[in-house]
Amino acid sequence: MKRMISVIATGLALGLSFGAQAGTLEDAVKRGSVSCGVSTGLAGFSQKDENGKWSGLDVDVCRAVAAAVLGDADKVQYKPLTAKERFTALQSGEIDVLSRNTTWTHTRDTSLGLNFAGVNYYDGQGFMVSKDLGVKSALELDGAAVCIQAGTTTELNLADYFRANGITYKAITFDTSDQTRAGFESGRCDVLTSDQSQLYALRIGLKDPSAAVVLPEVISKEPLGPVVRQGDDAWFNIVRWSLMAMVEAEFLGIDSSSVDSAKADGNPSQKRLMGTEGDAGEKLGISAEWAYNIVKQVGNYSESFERNVGQGSPLKIARGLNAQWNNGGIMYSSPVR
């Protein structure tokens, strides 16, 4: 009996440790795809089209990782997740990387057994007002009726901001973003507040988008980025540098059309990124052409941004904070050296 128990215990321990030891990179290579958690639908960030094809700024992170690891950006298994499921799916190993407009906060980083691999979009809460109001700044909004989606941090940020500035307001809460927009449109409130990336999407949905303006104030910090499980540093590095490669490629002036010439006869830093010089890929444990594949198949950060949320998309979000550091923004990549 005792022996049997010890056999079972050893078996269990072995089974568990086998499960835990296999690295995410090896798993992904064996599976032939990167399993990526995305949103069930968020305009410009992760959205499905009529043919079931995924696209978006968050989706491009998944594609970049797949391009780096497997050499093919299409080898992604998308796992649509709701906000409540996302961390469990990552913790339980159902997905390799979570790229689902997730705000990088202290609590999430420290208490969930997760690591944020970087920031692919600096978001923040903003205001949309109807043009007729003639308001130029959020500070002129004293006494305004504000439409908010209930139960979000948006509500708390709003209270903090208005109290700090001594402005009174009347909150009108709605359950879904559709209802919030309808409330704004029907004139029940003068102002609609939400994350800026959402505001632009909500604005397009209005009957007359040009009748509303997004105010310049951003009252909260919402850095959104991809997340991986803690304890697999090799995989963490790959995800972090896949994202950085896109930003660095933009900084170095490499885009998907000029990628071949940059690889063959670019300047030294371009060649290092493209893998013709140095051993950046080898150090990550993946192909030397990792960054080449990313830029070739997904594009640099600027291309991805403009295609999904910027001028090339219906959303027309300005680069703002998400411009390169030498261009008025804070997108900054460490050098590949």
Binding site: L16, G19, K48, S92, N308
Partner: protein
């Protein structure tokens, strides 16, 4: 010889026949009734013209992009463009025949169980029914029979609602019967296990069960073992349904007269013979209306899957609404369409269920 000749029947009194009288009798029989009729007519006059105008007259029927929606009315182009997603999800276009095959098989088995001779029915239709969920999974997944593999991530749309509900109901049927039987058992162990199971799955909201299945359950598995999300949901749905049906069956058991049990015992039938041959047929007959009502409920409950990110029809609609090429606020069109599809299905299910009830009604009540 005198024959009996009945007098020809008299026409009904004039004031009770004809359209005018019918209207008077049914709509204006009293002051209160007249007022109610007038109020409803007024309401319809206010609501109907703009509704018809929006729904049909100035609606956009052509085209498959948002730019085609130029008129003021409903943008049905939205529904048209997304119809494949609505019905089949992201299942590969070349493989749609597999979904159609499964749906056809489901319909075929239902028809077979209605038209087959009763000697054959039990031998063929019941095993087919029970095998159907597993056959469908094999066909849709594709790996075991050498077709191309389609991961459950691509399953979706209305066909998923139908197939998932059917698969849950089919497995729940025998399971709930066993639970109901166990609840009436004299053996305390079996009885308490069944009571706990039934009361747990009946007492916890289905949303909470879905969350448990999708968020909590994976944390208990060792890392690296993944039970497919759809499979977990199927199990949860089946257990939930079993809890409800077990209580329906219990009601049926209690409604069977005691004399039937005693008669079976006095014939020397064993427990299972008694249960399967004497009691079960009567239980099913008695509980049929309730079972079918529970089916309709479960079918509608499959839309709750949207909260755990499975692309059944309702969540496909929500996803479609967030596509940046369709941000024109087509929520009304989308949800109306979903409601219409579900209404058609549920209404036909209740038509079918009342025909089954008539067929099963062998009582001699007059």
């Amino acid at each position: 010889m005198r024959t009996f000749k009945p007098l020809p029947s008299q026409p009904a009194p004039k004031e009770t026949v004809g359209a005018v009288n019918w209207i008077r009798e049914n709509f204006f029989s009293s002051v209160g009734n007249s007022l109610a009729t007038l109020a409803i007519l007024m309401l319809l006059a206010i609501i109907l013209p703009p509704a018809i105008d929006w729904l049909f007259l100035s609606a956009n029927w052509q085209g498959v992009t948002q730019a085609d929606c130029t008129k003021d009315g409903a943008c049905w182009s939205f529904v048209k463009a997304w119809s494949k997603q609505f019905f089949y999800g992201s299942y590969p276009s070349d493989e749609l025949w597999r979904i159609n095959l499964c749906l056809l098989a489901l319909v075929a088995v239902i028809i077979a169980s209605n038209v087959l001779h009763k000697d054959w029915r039990n031998k063929i239709a019941i095993p087919l029914f029970l095998a159907l969920p597993f056959i469908s999974i094999v066909i849709l997944d594709g790996r075991p029979i050498g077709l191309s593999f389609v991961s459950t991530d691509y399953w979706g749309g209305f066909s998923l609602n139908v197939l998932l509900a059917a698969a849950a109901i089919i497995i729940a049927f025998p399971l709930s019967f066993l639970w109901a039987l166990g609840r009436r058992s004299d053996m305390p162990m079996i009885r308490s296990v069944c009571v706990i199971l039934i009361e747990f799955f009946r007492g916890v909201p289905v949303l909470a069960l879905f969350f448990m299945g999708s968020v909590m359950l994976p944390l208990f598995f060792p890392e690296g073992t993944n039970v497919d999300k759809l499979l977990r949901v199927w199990i949860v749905l089946t257990l939930f349904m079993s809890g409800y049906m077990a209580e329906v069956f219990r009601g049926g058991f209690q409604a069977v007269p005691k004399g039937q049990y005693e008669a079976a015992d006095s014939l020397g039938l064993s427990f299972w013979q008694k249960t399967l041959l004497i009691i079960l047929p009567q239980v099913i007959k008695i509980s049929m209306p309730n079972i079918l009502a529970t089916f309709v409920m479960l079918f509608k409950n499959t839309t709750f899957l949207l909260i755990i990110g499975i692309f059944e029809m309702l969540s496909t609609t929500q996803t479609a609404l967030t596509n940046s090429n369709w941000l024109g606020g087509h929520a009304t069109e989308g949800y109306l369409f979903v409601a219409l599809v579900f209404w058609i299905c549920c209404f036909s299910m209740s038509m079918i269920s009342s025909s089954i009830e008539r067929k099963l009604d062998t009582s001699h009540k007059k």
